[in-house]
């Protein structure tokens, strides 16, 4: 909303942005990154989602209307952005405890102790990349800050990463800065958290866990790189709780998940990185945001046909309001992620199913009635009417959503089989899966190749 208002202001057209009262602090913080720290907002009382029509109308008349007129008629007082330290400035000198106190007080820390980022430690990280320290990997909203290689190293130090993780950190930030990913949405109310998935020889080279407990903290590479992501969101993108981060509940950052490429190769399934167009065996980090997920235990069956109904049901149960990203708020942006434990993947493959066949069967099996699909959109996304037939006939969605006029016909969660992402990982001996509920356009999957310095002697191949 503010971004749209800023577009108007830049065209010389005054704006009033309608902001719920509990979002005023966020609006104030976000307006600075947009370069309009004094932009005018008009308050919306409470939350419209919990008001009767009469209450909403009364609140608009009694409060919002005056706010709109004030915003359009009164020029707010000018504001400036305060000065800041330079990237190489020492901001605090002292003991480990004193540095940590300072970082907590200035909101640079996630609450856990950080490793003090000294020049010596930062330079040790920079030795593991050919990228220049001042190179800008992208510009991150909402704070609108340059994501420099230097700042990647600083936050990597703080997170407890080892210097040799630096190529992974650089690739992760490149993914964060990719417009398709949509970092600017990272502070939205669902509070979805990013999952990073790792592929390639880098997994073993850097000691990432890719077997039992793959989502558990306790493995330095998986844990610290995951923590780095959240610290970078905080310190460079600017997502601070109670400010630019308006997650209703939020999540703790997720540790990095690495794929078991040995098992994937053994059963002839292409690794996850190929879903982003990379060749099998490439070193790739991919990112996407998920609002939640569920572990599905004891997925039993001797054949893929026997396993499929349980898996499809698990996928379906993760999606309710999120289908607004299939049809609606973000067309064709849902990409469910499934983690399959190795013996599940092996059993499916042993039945003659390729990874692509598995996705095709899942596409056919993970469906709900058109009536239910439209009901969810209508009742739970607050757009008054939804009609898949009209959406199809208008050319906005594919025919699979309207193969007949029968409201009991089954429609898929996604537009095509390839939209399901699948990673083989976890306990070698347990028949479990994990299904993530994807956050659609508010964290679309992006993959980036991890580049090692030339001095690493061909580690890129």
């Amino acid at each position: 909303m503010l971004r749209a208002s800023v577009a108007a202001e830049s065209a010389g057209i005054p704006s009033a942005t309608l902001v719920c009262e509990s979002f005023m602090t966020l609006a104030k913080a976000a307006s600075q990154g947009l370069g309009y720290p004094n932009i005018a907002v008009a308050p919306v009382r409470g939350h419209p989602g919990l008001q009767s029509k009469e209450e909403l109308q009364r609140n608009v008349r009694e409060l919002t209307l005056d706010g709109v007129l004030d915003a359009l008629f009164k020029m707010p007082a000018a504001k400036t952005l305060g000065g800041e330290p330079g990237p190489r400035d020492v901001i605090c000198s002292g003991s480990f405890e004193e540095v940590n106190d300072y970082f907590l007080q200035h909101e640079y820390s996630d609450g856990l102790p950080v490793v003090p980022p000294t020049v010596e430690k930062v330079e040790a990280f920079l030795k593991h990349t050919d990228r220049g320290p001042d190179e800008v990997l992208g510009v991150l909203l909402p704070d609108n800050r340059a994501a420099t290689v230097w700042s990647v190293a600083v936050n990597g130090v703080m997170a407890g990463c080892r210097p040799e993780y630096m190529p992974v950190l650089v690739a992760a930030v490149e993914a964060m800065a990719d417009h398709a990913y949509g970092v600017e949405h990272s502070g939205n109310t669902p509070g979805g958290e990013t999952l990073m998935v790792l592929n390639g020889p880098v997994i073993k080279a850097l000691g990432f866990n890719y077997t039992q407990g793959v989502m558990r903290d306790g493995f330095q590479a998986n844990t610290t790189v995951g923590r780095f992501w959240r610290l970078y969101l905080r310190n460079v993108a600017g997502f601070l709780p109670h400010k630019n981060d308006k997650a209703t509940f939020g999540n703790t950052w997720r540790v990095v998940v690495a794929e078991n490429e040995e098992v994937a190769a053994k059963i002839g399934w292409p690794s996850h990185c190929t879903e982003f167009g990379f060749r099998p065996g490439a070193n790739v980090v991919s990112v996407a945001r998920y609002t939640g997920g569920n572990h599905i235990s004891s997925v039993s069956g001797a054949t893929p046909e026997e396993l499929l109904p349980y898996i499809a049901d698990a996928v379906l149960r993760q999606y309710s309001w999120q289908i607004m990203f299939t049809v609606g708020q973000g067309y064709d942006t849902v990409r469910p992620l499934l983690l399959l434990s190795p013996i599940i993947a092996e059993t499916i493959a042993a039945g003659g199913w390729s990874k692509q066949r598995f996705k095709e069967e899942l596409f056919k099996a993970a469906r709900m009635t058109a009536f239910e699909f439209e009901r969810i959109l209508r009742d739970w996304t607050q757009k008054p009417t939804w009609n898949l037939k009209e959406e199809h006939e208008a050319g906005r969605i594919p025919a699979v959503f309207h193969e007949s006029d029968d409201p009991q016909r089954l429609v898929p969660l996604v537009w095509r089989p390839e939209d399901f992402h699948v990673v083989v990982t976890g306990d070698l001996g347990r028949n479990s899966i994990y299904v993530f509920a994807h956050n659609g356009v508010l964290g679309f999957p992006v993959g980036k190749e991890i580049r090692f310095p030339e001095s690493a002697g061909g580690a890129n191949e």
């Binding site: 749209a4 577009a7 005054p14 009033a16 907002v41 419209p48 008629f73 000018a78 800050r145 310190n235």
Partner: protein, 106 residues
């Protein structure tokens, strides 16, 4: 945490250089009489109903005010947000918008 007498650290700033430059807001209006107000919506939180009520109230106060419906501009927070927002300045000028009301930040 309490200070101790151990090693000393000179800690660096962990943030990135700010890219935003402060820019001036557009000139404000002195009336909406005879002006055109554009509604911009992110397609959530009953913005259509809020706009409807605002439209009634504004029309009662300024009988000559005109409005541009939110459907003209598209979803400002959908999958194509960047393209929609990038197109706004030109579209608003072409359609003769004098003011914008953008919602819903909730």
């Amino acid at each position: 945490m309490k200070a101790n007498t151990g090693a000393q650290y000179a800690a660096l700033w962990p943030r990135g250089p700010r890219q935003a430059k402060v820019r001036p807001l557009a000139q404000r209006l002195d009336t909406l009489e005879g002006k055109t107000v554009a509604w911009l919506w992110d397609y959530v939180f009953r913005g259509n109903e809020v706009f409807e009520q605002l439209e009634q109230s504004l029309a009662a106060k300024y009988p000559g005010v005109k409005f541009l419906h939110w459907e003209v501009f598209g979803n400002t927070h959908g999958g194509d947000e960047r393209a929609v927002v990038a197109a706004l300045p030109q579209k608003l000028r072409e359609l003769g918008a004098d003011a914008v009301v953008s919602g819903m930040g909730c």
